[in-house]
Subunit: 405 residues, 2 copies
Amino acid sequence: MFTANQDYLKLPGSYLFSTVAKKTGAFTQAHPEARIIRMGIGDVTKPLPPAVIEALHKAVDEMASAETFRGYAPDLGYAFLREAMAKHDFQDRGCQIEADEIFISDGAKSDSANIQEIFAGESRIAVCDPVYPVYVDSNVMAGRTGTYDPAAGTWSDVIYMPCTMENGFAPDLPSETPDLIYLCFPNNPTGAVITKAALQEWVDYANKVGAVILFDAAYEAYIKDPQVPHSIYECEGARTCAIELRSFSKNAGFTGLRLGATVIPKDLKDKKGQALHPLWARRHGTKYNGAPYIVQRAGEACYSPEGRAQIQAMVGDYMKNASFIRQSLADMGYQAFGGQDSPYIWLRTPGDMTSWEFFDFLLEKAWVVGTPGSGFGPSGEHYFRLTAFGSYESSVEAMERIRRI
Amino acid sequence: MFTANQDYLKLPGSYLFSTVAKKTGAFTQAHPEARIIRMGIGDVTKPLPPAVIEALHKAVDEMASAETFRGYAPDLGYAFLREAMAKHDFQDRGCQIEADEIFISDGAKSDSANIQEIFAGESRIAVCDPVYPVYVDSNVMAGRTGTYDPAAGTWSDVIYMPCTMENGFAPDLPSETPDLIYLCFPNNPTGAVITKAALQEWVDYANKVGAVILFDAAYEAYIKDPQVPHSIYECEGARTCAIELRSFSKNAGFTGLRLGATVIPKDLKDKKGQALHPLWARRHGTKYNGAPYIVQRAGEACYSPEGRAQIQAMVGDYMKNASFIRQSLADMGYQAFGGQDSPYIWLRTPGDMTSWEFFDFLLEKAWVVGTPGSGFGPSGEHYFRLTAFGSYESSVEAMERIRRI
């Protein structure tokens, strides 16, 4: 008789953001008068840029006529989008990435969850702690993480790299040697960044020990500091040790439109000389059918002069919120981090409050929803994440309410 | 040092349709004068119905304004679409399926490839032979199929259920007991259908032995025969043994728009009483971020009175092609099957030709691209698939060219 995947059953509780949504839903049902300000899930609120809207309408019209209708997309994405990304995201920054090393997908979340699949089952993973839950959970589901220790909130076979106030939220090189290293900079959830020099050390380390860095660059559009790299391929040697995940969600506001990409250089090979590029291509060909044509056209529009200017303005608005939130919290006496090259503000909870206690406290007293740091890993306990993706007015209002508590 | 997933390396050759595309590409490069008629990959050619286009434009406009902008979709899909499907696809046919048992996705291909993941690694799968390659390949990638026998074209740990002329392309119940049974009716690639009475036998069998039927209903819109069920949930007892995969690709022409759904009844539980519904929900929450809002609105439009009438007309046009192709082939002396409740025509290759020999023959002599039956499994050898998804004119022209060979 059939049996469910027992590795799924090892997952404690539900996906973090589902829990946040459920708790918020329960509160609003009990308090219909509460005007909630949502600074929890990292979802954008501004409408899509006009250049993107125009591209969408145009592509929809193409789908209305037999002459211009498009059916199945090429497995790995349309050339027009892959070429635009290769030029603007990589080659213009001096990174040697070709269009056919870019795989278009429905988003960085799917890719960051699925990428582990092309590696051996016994691969050892290393993650920052706190960390975006998808990296760990997708490996739990694949049976790669050993047993869970509920008291510690850790898995026996995962290498954790703590990122706390004490080390400036910058992970040290792991003491045990991993096969796969998940890095995300600008970081979700801490908002920390990494300089090119520091990232180069990781690249050198990965090449030395034969590890792959899975580099999540979903927040690169928020980087202002010129010392901070926008792509791991700015570092020398990254082509032989790094996979990069790209997103259109947080720069261009595609959270509801769904578009992302994964870069796998053709030079990236395992110890037997097996390249990873054809494996990911095979996965796309077999288990996926491409992002919608109209959405890929929308993605292309992000690279037009108008699109780029509009996206820059949008990101600028969110960054204005981020600066304001961080400064306001600091003024109130909170220890607040991030928010400078990142849309996330990471704060230390006041007193002895746990992350979830502070979640409830903020929800009940200020009608503000954030994300408990402990949901991102044990070292996130006593921290809390706020996002800058609301309007300026709502950011001001939220800070005012927190001040009044 | 890191190692690639060795199960991926077991896959022989490339994904069938990629090979067809590559061979066709090479031929057209060598013969630029060739006006190819594509009857290979099951891709539609008619533009999206006006009701769908209208819904897309309207939804795009909503994304252009902060008041109506939509970010992340609900994990499992928007209620408006799940409710429309529950009513029209299930409840109106007397099937007891609720909206919250329907999971919206980016297509039946992804779902049919990913669904194996919620089952134990040691699950034994049974497939029809020939079969849609995704069912087998996704299990190969998960390490579930044993070793490949290149001479036989079979995997040691897969239970094959031959479907040939001799048994009317209707599989017999398997002699060994499987955990998962993949069934697709109307069938891809043979175009065969199953009556409600015959499907009931499968449901009874699955309930008896404790197997799950993964029922691919992607082609249900092509059913004309009133004895053929549109959903497995028309059979009694299916709620405790069946998962159904639905697609918008072949009815509404969404191959390039990407939308599908998977139904998992809450009653479906493994031997330990573990329900599968929360596992698939967890997979959606962790490894996927929902189909685009605008595409879900397009899906909703398929259920409006206008949308339904337009889709019916479109399917009717394709079915006119299917009848014509099957009749023309029969007139030429081919043994042709399917094409009556299905957009696929399945023919026996002439003489002793292998499927790939006939592929090359048809490409070179008639500039017609089809799909070699052997690509779908060993029992597909000496068969060939043609699709009815072209225009009527191109279907007529293709038959004319084949007649002239």
